[in-house]
């Protein structure tokens, strides 16, 4: 029976499901929210590898289902994550948030299984809009602004991607999305488009800007999908691109440095996403079979533990309404279960043996070592130390211990704990039985994570970091300030742009006035025609232009105070210009 | 200026002007002129009346409702004649094939005449309306 119904496109399941959400109420909706990911998972299990759901769409071939060993792992983890996220957010009453989250999941699945650029672009755009809506759902000024910056940034990246796609289409005549090689312009445009998705510096600011502003439940969804889709795209299109190795390595360290000095819990985690994605980008850049395996495995593990980590501060935010580390502390007594579950995520991300971070991260570092990239190897190792320092030690320490600020708290709702517990279980399970992860990777794995040498090396590194933290823990306490990052530029760019829209436009208007006055004067001079009318008009224009310019320097000036006389003049001017050009033969081809 | 002179001259002239207007309309098929020109002349005569005796005089002769009716009926008659061409199996406005018990040239002439009358009716109401609208509005204000 089930074989006849399934498989259906995974993206369609979620998107259609999202549209049905507002129709359901109460208990039924809760069941529905959990039911869809389960169906989707079963659907994926029945999904054989191959290319299907191809449509001929006005001269373009759309491929909605390219299922192979690269896209399938992402599909699995996205669906699992959708289940965990839905469980975590099931208590939220507002349907808009659920709809946005499910559309985000659906679009990410669509993007991962897309086999051509047009449908890929379609799903990426839907992802952008739906995740911006998740940020907007916080319903406060800073969230709105952050969501807006997120939207514009991604539209900007999308525009470059679209430009790349068009160039690609014109030069190759098809839209097939696959490995890209060569030295064409479209290659770079598409690469930048993907780098924006993967939050590679300097295109990362949207991430640290928007993710902390999401709702407690929304950030869990946000953290999982967008960047990992970016990683998938890089793995798919640009494996073995030299520049990605360096970008990734720098990214890993960069994220760590900012995370260490960050004060907002979820912003810290956002920086740590950048750092972790750095590993994957570097692995994609290395491009060996083992590195690609590592990138995908790390993406999968990362989704789990990063979701767990976002769930922790999310639960704290849900219960206490606070986010800043300097405002938190001493919550351990009230929320022990949350703490321990959070710590599972913390040790996973740090790569402690027997947790899932270890099995994937060591794979990437080892493949860097095998390639002989010594500098990259060291950078990645360093980043892993920093990760341990800030996520596993600093964040829980200042959130759950440190100074007790007497905050009234309790354990979060049961569904949140259940979701965290399930995620923590998966982290541990994969850490102990890595084979289940290695089996779904695209290339055969002959990598053994649990060698004595690797375990000892890791434990030694981590113990030294722990020691260092105990000695220096007061020095790295979060400061209640905003650390300066490249997002400063575009935080300022928004207002500056609005200023540009208002002011130079009116300055331009004043130029027009001035030009008009000049032309009147020219008439007077040319024809020795002392018309008081003309003189008066000219003088008035000069005054008007001066007024406008003064207005512009002070405040937004009204724009369109054009008289029709001027409009007709403009018209006449254009006609005259054309005719003059015609007479002088400039226009004739 | 004595309004009596103007009014008297107007009263004498208006019928002749109108007659001339009707003449132009009716002779449309065979000589220069036609519905539009004739209609304007007739309308102008009414404007003359309005100038000499005041707008309300013209208004009372040809009231707003009558003007609208004339205006619409004139245009509808034109469209109707055009549609007759289609009904007769020809093209729109192809009036020479309308099946009347007359020679085709006569049918043609009659139809052009009818169209002229329709346009004339339409235009005379329109010209007067245009004039009366402008005056009406200002008078109300004063």
């Amino acid at each position: 029976m089930i074989e006849h119904v399934l498989p259906v496109p995974p993206a369609a399941l979620f998107i259609v499901g999202a549209l049905l959400i507002p129709l359901l109420k109460g208990q039924l909706r809760k069941i529905f929210l959990l039911f869809i990911p389960i169906v989707a998972f079963v659907n994926l299990l029945y999904l054989p590898q191959g290319t299907y759901w191809t449509y001929h769409f006005v001269g373009f071939d759309l491929i909605f289902g390219r299922v192979d060993s690269t896209s399938l792992p992402f599909g699995y983890i996205f669906v699992i994550m959708a289940f965990l996220g839905a469980l975590y957010a099931i208590h939220v009453k507002e349907s808009s948030e659920h709809i946005a989250a499910f559309i985000l999941v659906g679009a990410s699945l669509g993007a991962v299984f897309a086999g051509d650029y047009l449908s890929l672009y379609l799903f990426l755009a839907i992802m952008t809009v739906s995740s911006a809506f998740l940020v907007f759902s916080r319903r406060r000024k800073s969230a709105t602004d952050a969501g807006f910056r997120y939207l514009i940034f991604h539209f900007f990246g999308g525009s470059l991607l679209l430009a790349g796609i068009i160039l690609y289409y014109i030069s190759t005549g098809n839209l097939y999305f696959g490995l890209l090689e060569g030295n064409e312009l479209y290659l770079y445009l598409i690469l930048i488009g993907f780098l924006v998705k993967a939050a590679v510096p300097p295109f990362h600011t949207w991430l640290t800007d928007a993710y902390p502003e999401g709702t407690a439940t929304g950030s869990v969804f946000l953290s999982a999908f967008t960047t990992k889709t970016g990683v998938y795209l890089l793995v798919r299109a640009f494996p073995g691109t030299e520049i990605l190795i360096w970008l990734g390595a720098i990214m890993a360290v960069y994220g760590v440095v900012y995370a260490v000095i960050e004060n907002d819990g979820r912003k810290l985690l956002a920086y740590s996403i950048i750092s972790q994605v750095g590993y994957m980008v570097a692995a994609a850049g290395l491009g060996t079979q083992m590195a690609i395996n590592g990138a995908i495995a790390h993406a999968l593990c990362h989704i789990l533990y990063k979701a767990l980590l976002f769930m922790g501060p999310g639960a704290v935010l849900q219960v206490t309404g606070r986010e800043k580390l300097t405002e938190l502390g001493g919550l351990f007594k009230a929320m022990p279960v949350t703490f321990w579950l959070f710590m599972v995520g913390g040790v996973s991300i740090s790569g402690v043996p027997f947790f899932n971070g270890f099995v994937s991260k060591t794979m990437i570092i080892a493949s860097a070592g095998l390639q002989g990239e010594a500098v990259v190897y060291v950078l990645l190792l360093l980043a892993s130390v920093g990760t341990f320092l800030h996520t596993c030690l600093k964040l829980p320490y200042y959130m759950f211990f440190a100074t007790d600020r007497g905050i009234k708290a309790e354990e979060p709702p049961r569904n949140m704990l259940m979701s965290m517990g399930l995620t923590a279980f998966l982290c541990l399970f994969i850490g102990i039985y890595p084979a289940i992860l290695y089996n779904i990777l695209p290339y055969p794995v002959d990598f053994v994570p649990y060698t004595t040498e690797k375990v000892v090396e890791k434990i030694a590194l981590l113990s030294f970091t722990l020691l260092g933290f105990w000695l220096l823990k007061d020095k790295i306490a979060g400061q209640p300030t905003i650390s300066l990052d490249t997002d400063w530029f575009y935080r300022k760019a928004g207002p500056a742009f609005m200023w540009f829209c208002r002011n130079p436009a009116s300055v331009f208007a004043s130029w027009k006035d001035l030009a008009y006055a000049k032309i009147c004067f020219a008439f007077i001079l040319l024809f020795r025609h002392n018309s008081p009318e003309l003189l008066l008009t000219a003088e008035k224009r000069v005054i008007q232009s001066r007024e406008r310019r003064q207005l512009a320097s002070r405040q937004p000036a009204p724009l369109d105070s054009l008289t029709i006389g001027f409009s007709i003049f403009m018209f006449t001017f254009i006609v005259a210009l054309f005719l003059l050009l015609l007479v002088f033969g400039k226009l004739v081809p | 200026m004595n309004p009596v002179v103007i009014r008297t001259v107007t009263r004498i002239l208006v019928p002749f002007i109108q007659l001339f207007g009707f003449y132009i309309i009716v002779h449309g098929p065979v000589s220069p002129g036609g519905g539009f020109q004739g209609g304007v002349v007739v309308g102008a005569s009414m404007i003359l009346l309005a100038l000499a005796y005041g707008a309300h005089e013209a208004e009372s002769k040809v009231s707003h409702h009558v003007r609208i009716a004339m205006d619409s009926l004139g245009s509808l008659a034109y469209a109707g004649i055009g549609l007759l061409g289609i009904a007769a199996g020809g093209l729109f406005l192809q009036y020479n094939i309308i099946p009347l018990p007359l020679p085709p040239a006569r049918v043609n002439g009659i139809m052009i005449f009818l169209i002229g009358v329709a346009i004339g009716v339409h235009i005379m109401a329109l010209v007067l309306s245009l004039f009366l609208h402008t005056t009406e509005e200002t008078e109300k204000d004063d």
Binding site: L160, I166, L559, F571 | L76
Partner: protein
């Protein structure tokens, strides 16, 4: 003789007859005007559907009014492009007429209802006439008919500033139409014909190109005023924002498109495929002006706080897209440009209808006050979102497809145009998403303040806003909104339907 052969003339005559029946009916019973107007608009819509189907099946329709042959008589010429445009015009015209019933009751005095419906039908009929005609002079006459109706409709509500807006529109557009007449005379002087097809044959045999260029330049610039090409757009924001909403829809979604259509006709039909190389004289400057219009129109729109003014400036940008596509004159860009006519008509009509519905129910015009309207008018706001997304050009909607084609065509010419198109989309995302964000996630504490402020707008006191939560506009207003929103979404997926008309039209225009 088959009756369907007469449809090109019937489509126009139905509306003109309706236009003159309206005042007559108004003398008897004012309530009759509305059903009559709906009936005639519906009939002409049905006629244009049949015309489109028969054009696609049998090719170009020629209809000689009064049985006179082309060089002397007036010829109606319906090719795929004009049938396509006619369908858009009659369809959105029908929706605008339907929408008027409840909206207009609060806007204009009861006494003017017959005049309003009469003008509404005249403007649609005039546009259809301009689309169907194959005669240059007739094009001028029809342009004047719908323009004069447009001037009158802008000022019919007698709101503050509407008279001046109408006056400005009148003076500027008349200068344009006078130039069109001038150019018609010019072309007649050198070719001795007014029939478009005839002219194109005679022009290609012409020795001296100067006169021809002169005529082309005057013609295109004259129509450029009608279509509000960038530096000549100054009349548009006032006229489109002050007019009653159904009229704004007609002006913004249709009238400027008919202007663009006339530019296509003058460049590609009057001057013909044979002279396409030479028509670069105007098409190249037109593309540059259009590119400027895309950017500056969007930037101006960002600074606006009045929703209808914002939409009006966005129309300046979108007419830029259309004319950019036309000016580039390649297959892909023309397909994009003509397809964008449909998309912008659907999207912008929907947005103006939504803005009108909000204005009607709550009296809100200011964008900042749109906060939290999603709770009060959910259907209207969903429609608004869909249409806005389509105009920004986000994939599953139809706006994306036309911009995609445009972008392909643009890159074939120069990367600058590609950059302009993408940047324009980005800018339009800024102002549309600002509104969408306010609608759904606006801060709720603003809400209480809005109700007191929004009562009196533009001199017309609207109904006191009500306090209960869900207040959608009446059905006559809601149904057009829903249809248009669905249309602008569905045509993104069912692209092959409009493209099956656009492609033959483009092939014919480019002489392939």
């Amino acid at each position: 003789m088959n009756i369907s052969q007469h449809f090109p003339i019937l489509v126009i005559i139905t509306l003109f007859t309706g236009a003159y029946l309206a005042p007559l009916a108004g003398l008897w019973k004012r309530k009759l005007c509305y059903p009559l107007a709906v009936l005639s608009a519906l009939l002409s819509f049905l006629f244009s559907v049949v015309i489109l189907l028969s054009v696609l099946e049998h090719g170009i329709i020629r209809y000689h009014v009064g049985g006179w042959e082309p060089p002397w008589g007036i010829e109606l010429l319906v090719d795929p492009l004009s049938a396509f445009m006619a369908l858009i015009v009659s369809f959105i015209g029908l929706l605008a007429v339907v929408y008027s019933k409840d909206y207009i009751a609060g806007e204009i005095p009861d006494k003017k209802l017959p005049a309003y419906y009469s003008l509404l039908q005249l403007i649609i009929g005039g546009m259809l006439g301009a689309l169907m005609t194959g005669d240059l002079f007739n094009l001028f006459v029809m342009t004047e008919i719908f323009s004069i109706s447009a001037y009158a409709l802008v000022s019919i509500a007698q709101k503050k500033g509407s008279l001046i807006a109408s006056y400005n529109y009148l003076i500027l557009a008349s200068v344009g139409t006078t130039f069109i007449l001038f150019s018609t005379g010019f072309i007649y002087m050198v070719t001795g014909s007014l029939n478009m097809v005839d002219i194109s044959q005679r022009l290609s045999a012409l020795e001296s190109p100067w006169v021809m260029y002169n005529g082309l330049i005057l013609l295109v610039i004259g129509f450029a005023i009608k279509s509000a090409l960038f530096p000549l757009h100054t009349w548009l924001p006032d006229a489109h924002s002050i007019a009653p909403s159904p009229v704004s829809v007609l002006l913004s979604a249709l009238v400027i498109k008919v202007g663009a259509y006339s530019i296509i006709r003058s460049v590609f039909t009057v001057f013909g495929p044979g002279l396409l190389e030479q028509s670069g004289v105007v098409t190249i400057p037109v593309t540059w002006m259009a590119s400027l219009g895309i950017l500056l129109g969007s930037i101006y729109a960002i600074t606006q706080t009045d929703i209808k003014r914002m939409l009006a400036y966005s129309s300046v940008a979108h007419i830029g897209y259309i004319l950019l596509g036309i000016g580039l004159a390649s297959t892909a860009s023309m397909t994009g440009g003509i397809f964008h006519i449909l998309n912008h008509a659907l999207g912008k009509a929907c947005l103006f209808f939504c803005a009108g519905a909000v204005l009607h129910k709550t009296g809100i015009r200011n964008v900042e006050e749109y906060t939290g309207l999603a709770g009060k008018m959910p259907i209207t706001m969903i429609a608004f979102t869909l249409a806005a997304i389509s105009l920004v050009g986000i994939p599953p909607t139809s706006g994306f497809m036309s911009k995609f084609y445009l972008a392909i065509g643009a890159y074939q010419e120069s990367w600058i145009f590609l950059a302009v198109i993408l940047l324009g989309s980005l800018l339009s995302a800024v102002f549309y998403f600002r509104v969408i964000n306010l609608i759904y996630f606006g801060e709720p504490e603003h809400k209480s303040g809005v109700r007191e402020q929004g009562a009196e707008i533009g001199g017309v006191v609207h109904r006191q806003p009500t306090t209960d939560n869900r207040r959608e506009a009446p059905l006559t207003m809601l149904i057009p909104i829903i249809i248009l929103a669905l249309g602008s979404t569905l045509f993104g997926i069912l692209v092959h339907i409009p493209l099956s008309v656009v492609e033959p039209a483009v092939k014919l225009l480019l002489g392939m």
